[in-house]
Symmetry: C2
Subunit: 299 residues, 2 copies
Amino acid sequence: MADRTAVEAALLETQTFMEETLDLLLPRPDGPEARLLEAMRHATLGGGKRLRAFLTIQAGRLFGVDKRALGRAAAAVECLHAYSLVHDDLPCMDDDDLRRGKPTVHRAFDEATAVLAGDALQALAFGLLSTPDIHADPFVRAELVVRLAQAAGPAGMVAGQMIDIATEGREPDIATITRLQRLKTGALIVFAAEAGAILGHAGAHQRHALIGYAHDLGLAFQIADDLLDAEGDVEAMGKAAGGKDAARGKANFVTLMGVERARAQAALLADQAAAHLESFDARADLLRGLAGFVVSRDA
Amino acid sequence: MADRTAVEAALLETQTFMEETLDLLLPRPDGPEARLLEAMRHATLGGGKRLRAFLTIQAGRLFGVDKRALGRAAAAVECLHAYSLVHDDLPCMDDDDLRRGKPTVHRAFDEATAVLAGDALQALAFGLLSTPDIHADPFVRAELVVRLAQAAGPAGMVAGQMIDIATEGREPDIATITRLQRLKTGALIVFAAEAGAILGHAGAHQRHALIGYAHDLGLAFQIADDLLDAEGDVEAMGKAAGGKDAARGKANFVTLMGVERARAQAALLADQAAAHLESFDARADLLRGLAGFVVSRDA
């Protein structure tokens, strides 16, 4: 298994690579719609852990997928993720002022531009996955689109966000919170890993191993996020923190389980995630190491 | 050419068919996310001219595409269109209370649900085009997605909406308004017709004839809409009308050209649209008739 330093170095490398890749793939501000294109860039460039991109790239490398195709797929996932953050941050949703240490899109621009930039980023994500540049086989391209549409749509991410809003101020149980997170953040994290497998024409067994890995990793990641929300400070998170969910009356894993049980659960899920990868050789070491990393990170 | 009665009958038939098709393809309200799914249904069912669906279906029929595939493609176009209306109507955009004679989604539900319902409808549109149910050939599916992503994204519909907002209260010229409309409404209208051609494996010549037709038809339709905005009454339009653009300081074809020149321009574009179809036989008569219909409609 790769140690913490190796994982951190690989994540940093992915951050640099994705910054370059997204800069190339995002439209350049021009014409009377320049404001839209600037807002799209504000939302996607200059920050972010690029965890999802990392999953796509590392999963794809298991099957020898070339870096350019993986960059495009990872960019699509990051655009989709960025759109969801822009809309989540809107005044009618979480009403957040800061994201990744910068003003949110509706604060840096305005609300209408934020709605539109999110909308355009979603369309761009589907565009990136469907053009022949990503893969010569149209079946692979169509399959990527099918799976992203499922992960992002009304049976995936958006449903999770709706449940998140619907349960605010109520007392949901662990089962509800688990389903909420599986939909809201888990579905896209699973797609991120699966995209690498689809591009690599992975067999069903290997594809399902990666899906299982990403599912557990996503949940571990979310619990770690809730632990950081409860304990973290604003500086480390780059967004307003310090028990924000609790202050809003939002239940999460930590408010429901307590810090100690949540920490134990996250560690268990991280081990379980890595265990899904047993059929892969040493090329999966960074993915194995990532599982431990996401539950021990401090930002 | 089909006469007005034939076009109206065919449009009515499409409205009924699309109501059934969308009802089948939209997810049924269930679980804690039921509110999202209800809002998606509110936005797409129970009204609408279904002009875009009609274009997809009629274009596909020129090439013998089966009705089920056309229904799916037309549903994708209508979902995409409905999402754009839901987001356009938001308080931070046009802030409209009525749409198709019903409360807008953010009035019937709330703002957050309206943002999410629009987001989910966009994802659903891409999902409908990419699953094998629509066509056995994955190249056709990927091509549909590529073209919808272009039509809907930052070089298409969303850019048009951004320009629309950016030019509000200013004095844009005819060239700016024409580009705005080509992007904001024209791109999706063109895609609607093109989707039928893509499903039918149409040759380049026929595909471009349909693109030219839909381009001119879309512009004629928009000018007719602006004429209705200037002259129409609330009852006929099913939304607040009566020179609403003028009252908001929004320039449109009529405020820039005057009623008489706008009416002449719309008629010219309708003739030009029909002329693109000269290489097609009598099966294109409804499309020819539609061109005249859109500039003479009263709602």
